[in-house]
């Protein structure tokens, strides 16, 4: 088990990078606690897999150092790093049985036969693979194969961290949920440091204690799922997380007034300190857009109501600004002239995309 530190890591796939754009991963510093569950979340091409491969040692970073428990292991090959990795497509050794697959990493490390048997049996039981042990690994289903991949990491006693590279991509939707909860269970049991790469926000938010949102080779926000939800530090995070994503509307600020499409809304706690040239945006999640009868509420028109199962999404127009709002499933029908208010606690102002701290 280990604490992982990344110091000034950056990576480029170009031999002699000279501009920012040549870097798939721009300079970043990060510390991950021993035994934590982390998720790297972002759209494809954002650098999350690059970062994962730097940690596992499959890639050597162009600059910077990787530290495990304070030791610089940047130059160590993957097999000397005490990590395990589960890949997007299940990797099993076709000609071996499930038992031999699980025993393979131990055999390569010259673990005595008796101990191998004990470890493999124990892990197989936890992964519910005991019955499949004598079967050929290639005959198993995709989810069982992914369990084998994971199992090859779990059998080792020396594993400091387990890395997951979009491990549920090829798994049937109904099995995804059960594998995910099994994974959470295993994390609680073993307390391995786990790093999970995905582009699926549900997977990231349910799995991780801390989610690192990446975009275009940079870390945009690293925080708990709740903070990502309540206080996205960048409009990218606001839009990317949540379904539907945050309402981001161009705005202006005049003293204690927020101006949305020439409409002045008093917002007493806003005290912007943005430079005059900054592009200002107002952000509020659909969950915090409420319908109201009060006089100062904003009159809107309804363009559509979508049923999303346990809630409804109201697509609204305030003047020409599109705003989404979430309605409970059993909400009464909207009035003919609906009006909305924003929850002041969860309304944010962004300058050039970045969240402005309140009360500054």
């Amino acid at each position: 088990m280990a604490r992982i530190d990344l110091k000034n890591i950056s990576h480029s796939y170009v031999a002699a990078p000279n501009t920012e754009n040549n870097f798939a991963l721009k300079t970043l510093n990060m510390s991950w606690q021993d035994g934590g569950a982390y998720a790297l979340l972002g759209p494809s091409g954002c650098g999350k897999t690059t970062l994962l491969n730097i940690i596992s040692g499959l890639l050597h970073p162009t600059h910077g150092a990787v530290l495990f428990d304070g030791d610089d292991i940047t130059n160590r090959p993957p097999e000397k790093r005490n990590i395990a990795q589960v890949f997007q497509f299940p990797v099993v050794y076709d000609t071996m049985t499930v038992f031999q697959n699980l025993a393979f990493p131990l055999r390569n490390r010259n673990v005595p036969g008796k101990e191998i048997k004990q470890r493999v049996n124990r892990i197989a039981e936890m992964l519910e693979l005991t019955e499949s042990l004598p079967r050929r690994a290639r005959d198993l289903s995709a989810d069982a194969k992914q369990k084998i991949s994971l199992g090859r990491g779990l059998v080792r006693t020396d594993v400091a961290a387990i890395l997951f590279d979009e491990p549920l991509t090829v798994i049937d939707p109904q099995l995804k949920w059960s594998l995910r909860s099994q994974l959470k269970h295993l994390h609680a049991e073993f307390r391995h440091t786990m790093i999970y790469v995905t582009h699926d926000q549900t997977e990231a938010l349910t799995f991780a204690d801390q989610v690192i949102v990446m975009s275009e080779g940079e870390v945009v926000q690293a925080s708990s799922p709740q903070a990502l939800y309540e206080r996205p530090v960048h409009t990218f995070v606001g839009r990317f997380i949540g379904s539907p994503g945050m309402n981001i509307l161009p705005c202006e600020i005049d003293g204690a007034f927020l101006i949305l499409a020439d409409h002045r809304i008093p917002m007493d706690h806003i005290e912007p300190a943005a430079p005059e040239t900054a592009r200002l945006e107002f952000g509020v999640r659909p969950e915090f857009v409420h319908f109201s009868d009060e006089d100062d509420a904003l009159p809107v028109s309804v363009s559509a109501i979508e049923d999303a199962g346990r809630y409804k999404i109201a697509r609204l127009l305030f003047k020409e600004l599109p705003i989404a709002a979430i309605l409970p499933e059993d909400a009464p029908p909207l009035s003919a002239t609906p009006k909305i208010k924003f929850d002041p606690e969860n309304s944010h102002i962004y300058a050039d995309g970045y969240l402005m701290e309140k009360g500054e």
């Binding site: 090959p77 097999e79 050794y93 071996m96 005959d139």
Partner: protein, 293 residues
């Protein structure tokens, strides 16, 4: 892939079937026809039944040619398959080196077969050939026109020169199709180079190796032009393989009956092998489908 039942599809295949029927069936029937008849040369034929077959199957000459053929095919398989695999494993997998290797290695495959013979004839002759001259210079008693051992070695080296690239290219295609994740997982599992070969590369190459073995077996079993040009079947009969023998009998001696009977026997041997080839191939196909993610 699930296929739909549609008997009209036969029409789509009909041009190909008619062409192959014309080029294959009619000559084959001619051969069968000759194999059961005899003639006194005045275009009058009479029925002799299985007479020619008996003669061929019992003849020392056929046995000897068959034995030489099997020995030759076995020898070149034993050399070309491991050698081709080893070269494919050592080849660069990306960069400019790939194109250079592939183009240069494929070169012998596109040289007309009798030119391959000519190249080796010129290369191996003691008087004018680089190889023969050099060997003689080192004091080896090398002369492929007189010494059967030298003739055999020359033919085997020539075949290795000519065809190992086919094995290399097949194995290379199989190797580059293995997803990187397998190698990465093996590194993380601490697998040795040998273990990677044994548990990842070899199982994944199963299919292409099978194609390589069978193609090489078939083609070496039918070899004619190269030994005909280089040794002409000699010295003596020591390099007279089945095809060389057959052409000698049919065109050289114009023994139509025995030659036809031998053709049928020869073809049946190959047919048996292609049946093996086909069943093994299709079995692999269903396996592969069941294995897809």
């Amino acid at each position: 892939m699930r296929k739909t039942l549609n008997h009209k599809a036969l029409w789509l295949a009909s041009p190909a079937l008619l062409l192959v029927a014309f080029t294959a069936l009619i000559p084959l029937l001619t051969v069968v026809n000759y194999s059961v008849q005899d003639t006194f040369g005045d275009n009058k034929f009479f029925w002799v039944g299985a007479e020619w077959y008996k003669e061929i199957l019992l003849s020392e000459r056929f046995h000897a040619a068959f034995f030489r053929q099997v020995a030759f095919s076995a020898a070149i398989l034993a050399i070309e398959i491991p050698l081709g695999l080893a070269i494919a494993l050592a080849m660069p997998k990306k960069g400019w080196g790939v194109s250079v290797c592939l183009v240069l290695m494929a070169l012998p495959l596109l040289i007309p077969w009798n030119v391959v013979g000519t190249i080796w004839q010129i290369f191996a002759r003691v008087d004018i050939g680089l190889l023969g001259h050099t060997l003689a210079g080192f004091g080896f008693d090398y002369n492929y026109t007189q010494d059967p051992v030298a003739a055999w070695i020359t033919l085997i080296v020539m075949d290795v020169w000519h065809w190992t690239s086919l094995v290399v290219l097949l194995c290379y295609a199989g190797l580059v199709a293995i997803p990187q994740a397998y190698y990465q997982a093996a590194r993380i599992d601490g697998a040795s180079r040998w273990a990677v070969f044994r548990h990842i590369e070899l199982p994944k190459l199963n299919r292409v190796l099978l194609i390589a073995v069978l193609l090489r077996f078939m083609d070496s079993f039918m070899i004619y032009t190269e030994p005909f040009v280089v040794t002409g079947g000699g010295p003596g009969n020591t390099t007279t393989f089945l095809s060389v023998d057959l052409v000698q009998m049919a065109i050289g001696q114009f023994d139509l009956g025995p030659a036809a009977a031998m053709s049928v026997v020869y073809f049946l041997i190959i047919l048996g092998l292609s049946w093996l080839f086909y069943t093994v191939m299709t079995r692999e196909d269903t396996d592969a489908e069941g294995r897809l993610p």
